[in-house]
């Protein structure tokens, strides 16, 4: 079953490039049904979890490729499988203007399977394997447009990701040597007897591995690939560079911190301080760059950088509450950011405008899109009643509860970043709805809201943002259970 959900998308993706479809709509139906079917399978799988590890193959020694479903997997796999069908639907509409659709959808769908592989991996090696694979299947998506810019961006993406993985790999080795197992166990697997005097070395390795996985999660100073990768078609930027890929990085770090090294071992050490400071810096840095950026998608990408570090900040608090905060933001941010990216995509699709200063007065021409955008902007800022507030609240509550002074500083960073978020998001909203007195509305003639295929995902995400903001209790309770190891 687990293997099925991983391989259905991969195979479906390959089929797309192999089957000679008569019409575009046939391909759409085929793909969408495959993706939806897979999502349902994932749903079924998550509800009826197999309680043992399913081993696919043995590498050397005790290293194997294995899968299992635990709390973290439920969170991440659930998130992905909810978002993917909508994103695919959106992509159908968006990609009408792009070339080489087949190749695009091949890799786009394969990524689904690979990401599920990351989320369902039972041990560090399996996760690492799918993590590398993820890089490889997403590179073609980044270079899709084949402009010089895109190729440079994809190169950069590749170097950064593979390089990061190389350092994460060092962490993997240490877990193999010093851990009692490489399987994920909440609370860590380190064998303290074997470590003996080498605690500091292990901490150093933790930092290195953190930064290694952090490359995908765009931790400063390894973040510059993310805005560049924005040259990809918007469905990619939205789903992969706001959710699947970057969240895989964050997911991997959670696995590394809570399930491999273990918070007992890390809490209160200099390693915690270092990684926490890094995330705090990234939070502020990402936002400030977003404020300076005038290209819409790049601005959102910088915003992603900062928001990812929210998640990581939660991770680095290294308490169960911190993990709850991280998980909350991991899921909630996914919905908020994908929604705002889809708006950006819709704008680009309908009008071919890419820069913030070109958006004057568009709110009147595309009320639905900008309405959704406003909601997501407010949610990202953390207005109570929307999703962002809840996740920030959980993060801050965890930071306060941890009692560490640095974490208090982290709350400060969160709030500074919230302010900067307001600046870079609301300035767009204000432009769109209040273009100024002498703005000539006639210049916007012929622009209107996009097709239903684009609007449906947008509305669904907006509703999700609202629901998450108002009735987050079940979700947060579930995250609490995950952090407590009940699942």
């Amino acid at each position: 079953m687990i293997l099925l959900v991983i391989f259905i998308p991969i195979i479906a993706g390959m089929l797309v490039s192999l089957i000679p479809f008569q019409k575009r709509s046939h391909m759409e139906i085929f793909l969408e049904s495959a993706v939806v079917l897979n999502s349902f399978l994932v749903g079924y799988l998550l509800l009826h979890r197999p309680d043992h590890i399913i081993t696919l193959a043995n590498f050397t020694g005790n290293l194997s490729i294995g899968f299992k479903v635990d709390g973290m997997s439920i969170v991440f796999a659930g998130l992905i499988s909810v978002l993917w069908p909508f994103a695919t639907l959106y992509a159908f509409e968006y990609m009408t203007k792009e070339k080489h659709e087949r190749i695009f959808f091949t890799f786009y769908t394969m990524t689904y399977g690979v990401t599920l592989g990351i989320s369902l991996a039972a041990n560090l090696l399996t996760m690492y394997f799918f993590y590398e694979l993820l890089t490889l299947v997403t590179v073609p998506l980044v270079m899709h447009t084949l402009t010089r810019e895109a190729i440079l961006a994809s190169r950069k993406y590749l170097y950064y990701s593979l390089g990061g993985a190389a350092f994460a790999f060092i962490g993997l080795i240490f877990i193999i040597i010093y851990g009692s197992t490489t399987d994920f166990v909440l609370g860590g697997v380190l064998d303290l007897e074997r470590i003996g005097e080498r605690t500091n070395v292990l901490l150093l390795i933790y930092v290195i591995a953190f930064m290694g996985f952090g490359v995908k999660a765009a931790v400063c100073p390894f973040n510059s690939w993310l805005p560049d990768a924005g040259v990809a078609p918007t469905p990619v930027t939205a789903l992969l560079h706001a959710v699947a890929v970057v969240k895989s990085g964050a997911f991997a770090i959670i696995r590394l911190t809570y399930y491999s090294f273990g918070t007992e071992f890390l809490r209160g050490t200099w390693a915690q301080t270092v990684v926490m400071l890094v995330t705090m810096f990234t939070i502020v840095y990402g936002c400030s760059r977003a404020v300076k950026e005038t290209h819409l998608k790049r601005r959102l990408a910088y915003s992603t950088i900062s928001n990812l570090s929210y998640v990581l900040f939660g991770v680095t608090i290294m308490t169960p509450l911190g993990m709850v905060g991280a998980l909350t933001h991991l899921t909630f941010h996914a919905v908020m950011k994908i929604s705002s990216f889809f708006c950006a995509g819709a704008i680009m699709h309908q009008t071919d405008r890419h820069y913030v200063h070109e958006l004057d007065g568009m709110g009147y021409k595309m009320p639905c899109v900008f309405g959704v955008f406003t909601v997501s902007a407010l949610a990202l800022m953390g207005v109570p009643g929307l999703a962002g507030f809840v996740s920030k609240w959980n993060l801050a509550a965890a930071a306060v509860e941890s009692g560490s002074r640095i974490a208090y500083g982290g709350i400060g960073c969160l709030l500074i970043s919230a302010l900067l978020t307001a600046i870079y998001m609301l300035s767009i909203v204000v432009r769109a709805f209040f273009p100024g007195k002498d703005f000539n509305m006639a210049a916007l003639e012929g622009i209107n809201d996009p097709d239903w295929k684009m609007l449906i995902p947008l509305f669904v995400f907006t509703i999700l943002i609202l629901v998450m903001g108002l009735y987050s209790a079940p979700a947060v309770k579930f995250f609490n259970d995950v952090a407590a190891g009940i699942y």
């Binding site: 609240w393 709030l415 302010l419 307001a422 204000v430 947060v476």
Partner: protein, 490 residues
């Protein structure tokens, strides 16, 4: 009890309705609709005040430990009444004033939303509800600021937005900690900080208190985060400025009152460095605001600076934490509300009629519009603190409270600054009245003609003037009522 929810939801929903519906061709029908909405809201608000009687309304929970909670207490009544009166007056005033502006529908839409949110702020029963509506207030009042759509207005709107948000976030920083160290987030007289936590974490809690004061102080235009106010208030249409200056800044005041008297508790803060710092900041603001107003030639800007200074009178009263001064502060909330709203409406009427903006251009206006100018004069006197207006009473209490507080230094520095500032107030408000009535010998009297503004403009101004005078002449019941509140919260 559900009247609370109704009085909050009704204006917000109708406001949204106005925003999203198609453009209304007939201006009159728009005005009638808006008028009806305003009146119904007020009625609902009054009903809520009268009928809810201390009950608690919890519509839903934001997270399992964060309920959205409304209740009506004395402070709510005070602020809600002021809000409703001023909103009604300014609302009717704008029916005439907004004739020349574009996009009226949008204006009324946001106007109603802000009304609802302000009521919600008054009724908010815990910190998180307060924070929620505090942030929504910023967002929904920003369109009022940048309504005219000029570049200046848009920039001012953004400035307002970002300052306010940064304030809100500072407050939020505190909320996080209070959730941890407090017994509850619900406002309760005497504070919610558990004594254990207060003893263990005094240092951090004091910093939190200070941050929250600064944060809410942004909305109240308190130094050092006041710079947005003189930029934002004048660019809005006059009735909107009135609302902004008279009511919305009071949301900041309300926030500080709630934080100090209902969350931290007076006993925790009294005598700490936070109190000292707060007093210093308010006094600086009082003086600086007056000084800047004195030097400002443009009428509405001058009034905005005046707001900066006057609101800090109120804050000074609260910062002293003495029965007299707090009474004075609460009283000044009402007085300043009525007076400043009135003054802005006057300014609006003057601008509407003459199209001029600078103070020295209004020479002879008193001859042309005597009723208006008389109102202006009386209101000015009130703000300066000359009997028989309410301003005198409130300032009296403020000064007396400060003197009797026994705080070394501040007990005399405070009243001195207040006095100097009162002089400056006279200096910046009265020249207009003097010029208006006594344009001087070289003035061309021939060009004068009667052009009193329409009734719908004059009546709100008259009402506000009247209120300020009544408060000055018959302060007894009000003061009695306020002293009851003060007794409770101190």
């Amino acid at each position: 009890m559900y009247y609370i929810a109704l009085s909050v939801l009704f204006p917000i929903l109708t406001g949204v309705y106005l925003l999203v519906r198609k453009e209304i061709k007939n201006r009159k029908s728009l005005l009638i609709q808006t008028g009806i909405f305003l009146v119904i809201t007020t009625v609902l608000g009054v009903l809520a005040l009268c009928l809810s009687g201390g009950g608690i309304l919890t519509p839903f929970n934001l997270t399992d430990r964060l309920p959205i909670l409304f209740k009506v207490d004395e402070i709510s009544i005070l602020f809600a009444v002021m809000t409703m009166v001023i909103f009604l007056c300014a609302g009717f005033f704008s029916f005439i004033y907004m004739e020349h502006e574009e996009k009226e529908k949008r204006y009324y839409g946001f106007y109603l939303i802000v009304f609802g949110i302000l009521l919600a702020l008054c009724f908010a029963g815990n910190l998180i509800t307060f924070y929620l509506f505090f942030e929504l207030l910023t967002l929904s009042s920003m369109p009022l600021v940048l309504h005219t759509g000029s570049r200046e207005a848009i920039m001012a709107g953004l400035k307002y937005l970002f300052y306010s948000l940064s304030g809100a976030y500072m407050a939020l920083f505190g909320v996080y900690f209070i959730e941890r160290y407090g017994n509850t987030l619900t406002f309760s007289t005497g504070g919610v900080i558990s004594s254990q936590a207060a003893a263990d974490n005094t240092g951090i809690l004091l910093w939190i208190a200070f941050l929250m004061l600064i944060g809410f102080g942004v909305k109240a235009g308190m130094f050092p985060m006041h710079a947005w106010l003189p930029a934002a208030h004048p660019v809005a249409p006059a009735p909107a400025s009135a609302v902004l200056s008279a009511v919305i800044v009071k949301a900041g005041v309300l926030g500080m009152v709630r934080a100090v008297y209902y969350i931290f508790g007076v006993s925790f803060l009294r005598g700490t460095w936070v109190q000292t710092a707060w007093m210093v900041l308010t006094l600086i603001t009082v003086f600086m605001g007056s000084m800047l107003a004195y030097r400002e030639p443009v009428l509405k800007k001058r009034l905005a600076y005046s707001t900066v200074s006057q609101v800090s009178y109120i804050l000074f009263g609260f910062s002293v934490m003495d029965a007299g001064s707090v009474t004075g502060g609460l009283l000044h909330v009402l007085c300043h509300g009525a007076i400043k709203a009135g003054l802005f409406l006057c300014a609006g009427a003057l601008i509407y009629k003459t199209g001029k903006t600078r103070v020295e251009e209004f020479r002879g206006a008193g001859k042309e519009m005597p009723v208006l100018m008389w109102c202006y004069t009386i209101l000015s006197l009130g703000l300066i603190g000359i009997p028989p207006t309410g301003g005198f009473i409130s300032k009296w209490y403020l000064a007396e409270g400060a003197l009797s507080s026994g705080l070394s230094g501040f007990s005399w520095i405070g009243p001195t600054v207040l006095l100097v500032s009162a002089l400056l107030t006279a200096g910046y408000l009265l020249p207009l009245a003097i010029n208006g009535f006594l344009p001087g010998a070289d003035y061309d009297y021939g060009s004068l003609k009667k052009k009193e503004p329409p009734l719908l403009m004059v009546i709100p101004i008259l009402v506000l003037t009247l209120l300020s005078v009544v408060m000055g002449l018959f302060p007894e019941p009000l003061i009695h009522y306020l002293s009851l509140i003060v007794e409770k919260i101190l």
